[in-house]
Symmetry: C2
């Protein structure tokens, strides 16, 4: 299902050129055009038909912000050819705490990228086929599973899978924009729609206010999410890595600006108002634009199909970046070791699993409706932008370069612009959901700090650089539970006799039965052992009025351990093994329970010896 | 939640008199009156208003059958004071195969008792409060969980919980019948209903045919399910056990006959037609009767409330009997050992769990609608009746008793009557669902035979009655995986050195790192060990191009094991333990995986030594 394992030396084959880099690292940024403008327009519903016009100044502000961020990230790519994600840049230049803050912001951002990408894709799907609307959440989760599997197979195949739909998406959207603008200009700015969009909801429930426009701008800022992806993944590009990555970033940003500008123009020209998200009659803004410009013919379905695929797969950016981020954090000891290890397909599988599970959780909580996820989204992304740019400012201050001053100015502009945006978004969206992000980010930071403290404590406790201490070693005192005399009991006893001269067998008496073992013990065990020169093997009887078999053994082991403070106690646990899954239901699994309980209640001086008996099949 | 553990000697306190025995062992039989007549009537819907009258001859046939079965079971109780369930009687008198057939039939019967009891109880509830109808399944499952918990606490408390509602149910239903019959006789057989029942669905879609009446009779036979409960549980009664049990059975059967007769009379007198089950507008027959006789006042709600409680708790009969049956089968070696062991509250907990899970499955599949479960029900119950009576015939043939002939005749009558009923029900209900029971019963028999074969094979393989063989014992060859030099590695090495003179450390090299261990090995381990008189401890390096850590170790162990065909191999597995659940997410759990994989791929000569390291908290 996930393909054959790849050896470590196969790694360099995963390197990308510009053409392959655009789908891999640009999907998130480009597909944001499909939900960012819509998110801004949805808030303008309250203003009725008059609200539509405000999309133009809002889109222009976002494009200006985007341009500033672009120049800022170009410099980051050049300065960090090994991969200059916000986490790396912030921790190296602003210290580990800022780094963790950036990391937490990015993790939230990536999870939301997955959730929003998929939910917006399904939004496109239900625009074309409204009868699917009731199954929104199910569709979201199915797509999530599909993407997860693709990503567990590894990046290279993923690139091939994603290239075609991305280029269809870019091509058809740009064609729609060009054709729509052309028709509009011909019609003197008042084009006639092929298919009329639904009219704006009649009742005007609010007047245009600065507050409402700020809210709309904050929602629209989600159109910028994902532009940092290229700078994180510079190492995945073909040589010369920096130039290839910068070229890729330039193309992505140019395409995104063209789309945002074109959408804003067409929304205004064709009077397209957003519809109520998650309600019957919902239709995505892109769907209305394409239907208005080109009608609901084959072109409409190809475009909407590519929007669906691209939006869903935009989640892939996060699936490429989230595990890398987790790995970087794990290398610094702030996340468990498992995130540092690549799976059998050279993918950091643990990160893929965690991302998939958290995104599924978010989708389920918010019912797969994009508009409910939007308020959580922009805070994380813009906080990471800000920390990254601020880190770059600190970087240029340290670096001795004649152009440092100019560079510092560009990154400083970026830091200030995105920093102000974080505050705007946080205030404007606080009640609607930004409070969750505002709580989750510090919670994540605290979590990572605790993990770090835990690992430092464990490492300190286990640290030992002296040579092996061999003083006072003596064999363990062996305790062997025996319920019946059988081949398995004999084998366990043989093992016990070979590893120590001190062996004690214990037998639990439940409901008065099984007294016969004691009667036979001397003849079956003690006499032959003595004859062969082994020391005494006594049988200890344990009474159990509550019919428990396991707890009396554990209690006895703990008692013996207290009576011999200088000895190690080895508990020999016989166990039957059969290579059939249904075997588990047939045996009473006492040995499994005994092992678990002894490990749980045990201590440094108790060790377990597991003697398996493989049943013939 | 389940109460404190009970010691074995507390067992006799669970003994019951007649008054307590009726709720415990009679609930299933008595509550059948609430769904049996309704099941028969539901089929008569097809005949329109004219169909109602047929309920009288059908009920009379069922009462005759019930009387025959009653006399038959009285004799069973006397002959089997230790508990004469169908399984015991059939296996002792007709051989183990007939016993297993009876056991399988009973197991299916018990599961359906639970499912039908709960679904019919919820049917009463939604009759009184129709707005609950859409939540039928959820209500069923909640009640199932409640009953399961009660039963895990043990029988004694259960008796107290069930006594009151049962007597309210019996009292109010008999009062309804007496009052209804009195009014009807006063009105010359044409009483006026206080609340008119809904009229029978107008279109008559079938003519009365022998086939339809047989189907209606077959459904009505479910009113007899549960009458065998007393004979299974004779041991639970107070001394003199046989007389107490027989008296209890007599009271239960007399009450049941009064109810079935009364219901049939009132249905006809008040012209009550069944409503479509599982559809909007559904109302149970009992609800319509009580509303017709007494109106929807407080008496109606008390009666319907007791019907709800009693029907739901009728499942308790199965919860008392199913685990006992499984225990009896397990003692004979046809079910896993776990069914034989009493839990901490003297309950055979395993059987309770299995019953609860299977009943939940049935309820979910059939949406909690009684009428869909009915076709599956009667086959199992009547097959068990038949095998039990037939077994008694064989029993009397063997026993030397002057009255054997008379006894044989009574049980023979029972066997023939119930045997014919099995065939009728099987044919009449085959398409609607009896085919499932007809498949499940032989499948269960095959399953139990396989379990028996498995246990016989295991017992034979492990059987060993000779004294301990101590020839040629030598210490195991110890293999110890070491990734880093630490206190834990040192402890594991100390344990290894004390249990065997042959110790080999292995180290897995992934991605070229960690070569330093080899460089330090001589100084850290070999020299001090040699100085203390221990033999050489060599470090073996294992290369791992696929970055796996665990499989190279397992492969190495298997290789060493093949190279030393005469030795046991002990693999020492160091493991960190911390008493916090979240610890599991922080460590990479390699030791757990290694243990599992070694047990899975290992063989008779490989044993595991688990050396835990308890982290300070």
């Amino acid at each position: 299902m996930f393909g054959k394992p790849l050896p470590t030396w196969d790694e360099r084959a995963e390197e990308l050129g510009t053409a392959a880099g655009i789908p891999i690292f640009g999907l998130d940024a480009l597909s944001s055009a499909a939900y960012g403008p819509e998110a801004a327009l949805t808030l303008l519903i309250l203003l009725g038909a008059a609200g539509i016009a405000y999309i133009v100044p809002i889109s222009v502000s976002i494009i200006v912000l985007l341009t500033i961020v672009y120049f800022s990230y170009r410099q980051t790519i050049a300065a960090y050819p090994g991969g200059g994600g916000s986490y790396t840049v912030a921790s190296e230049n602003l210290g580990p705490f800022a780094g963790l803050l950036a990391a937490a912001a990015l993790m939230i951002d990536y999870i939301l990228t997955v959730a929003v990408g998929i939910s917006a894709g399904v939004g496109a799907l239900v625009s074309a086929w409204p009868q699917l609307l009731p199954h929104t959440l199910l569709l979201c989760l199915l797509i999530l599973v599909f993407i997860t599997v693709i990503n567990l197979r590894g990046l290279r195949q993923a690139g091939i899978v994603f290239m075609l739909p991305t280029y269809i998406f870019i091509g058809s959207l740009l064609a729609t924009i060009a054709w729509g603008v052309f028709k509009s200009v011909l019609a003197g700015g008042h084009p006639v729609a092929v298919e009329m969009p639904p009219p704006a909801a009649a009742p005007v429930v609010a007047a245009a206010s600065a507050w409402l426009l700020l809210q709309s701008f904050s929602s629209g800022c989600t159109a910028m999410t994902g532009v940092e992806a290229v700078s994180n993944g510079v190492r995945a590009f073909r040589e010369p890595k920096v130039q290839t990555a910068q070229r890729t970033l330039t193309v992505i940003i140019a395409l995104l600006i063209a789309m945002l500008g074109g959408i804003a123009y067409l929304v205004r020209a064709y009077h397209i108002a957003a519809t109520d998200p998650g309600q019957a009659g919902y239709q995505s803004v892109l769907s209305m634009i394409v239907a208005a410009v080109a009608g609901r013919g084959p072109f409409y379905y190809v475009t909407i199909g590519s929007v669906l695929v691209v939006l869903c797969l935009s989640a892939n950016t996060a699936f490429a970046d989230f595990p890398r981020l987790c790995r970087a954090i794990a290398i610094n000891g702030y996340l468990p070791d498992a995130f540092r290890l690549r799976g059998r397909r050279l993918v950091y599988s643990q990160g893929v699993y965690v991302l998939a599970i958290l995104a599924a959780l978010l989708l389920t909580i918010f019912g797969g409706v994009t508009n409910r996820l939007i308020p959580l989204y922009a805070v994380g992304a813009f906080l990471a932008f800000t920390l990254s740019q601020a880190g770059m400012v600190a970087h240029w201050r340290r670096v001795k370069d004649p152009r440092s001053g100019r560079y510092m100015f560009v990154n400083g502009m970026g830091a200030i612009a995105t920093g102000i945006t974080v505050l705007v978004v946080l205030v404007a969206k606080f009640v609607e959901g930004a409070w969750m992000t505002a709580l989750l980010i510090p919670a994540l930071v605290v979590l990572m700090l605790s993990v770090h403290r835990y690992f430092k404590r464990v490492a300190k406790e286990l640290e030992y650089s002296h040579p092996l201490n061999v003083g006072g070693l003596q064999p363990p005192l062996v305790i062997l539970p025996v319920q019946h005399w059988s081949r398995l009991a004999q084998k366990a006893l043989q093992v016990a006799l070979t590893i120590s001269p001190d062996v004690q067998a214990v037998h639990v008496c439940t409901e008065g039965e099984d007294k016969e073992l004691q009667a036979q013990w001397v003849e079956l065990v003690e006499d032959p052992a003595k004859a062969a020169g082994f020391p005494d093997v006594k049988l200890v009887q344990l009474e159990s009025p509550y019919r428990f078999v396991i707890t009396p053994i554990v209690d006895h082991v703990l008692k013996v351990q207290q009576e011999h403070p200088e000895r190690r106690i080895a508990v020999v646990i016989p166990e039957m093994i059969e290579h059939h899954w249904w075997h588990y239901f047939l045996e009473n699994n006492r040995s499994e329970l005994l092992k678990a309980l002894l490990l749980l209640k045990g201590n440094q001086r108790i060790i377990l010896v597991n003697v398996p008996w493989y049943l013939k099949t």
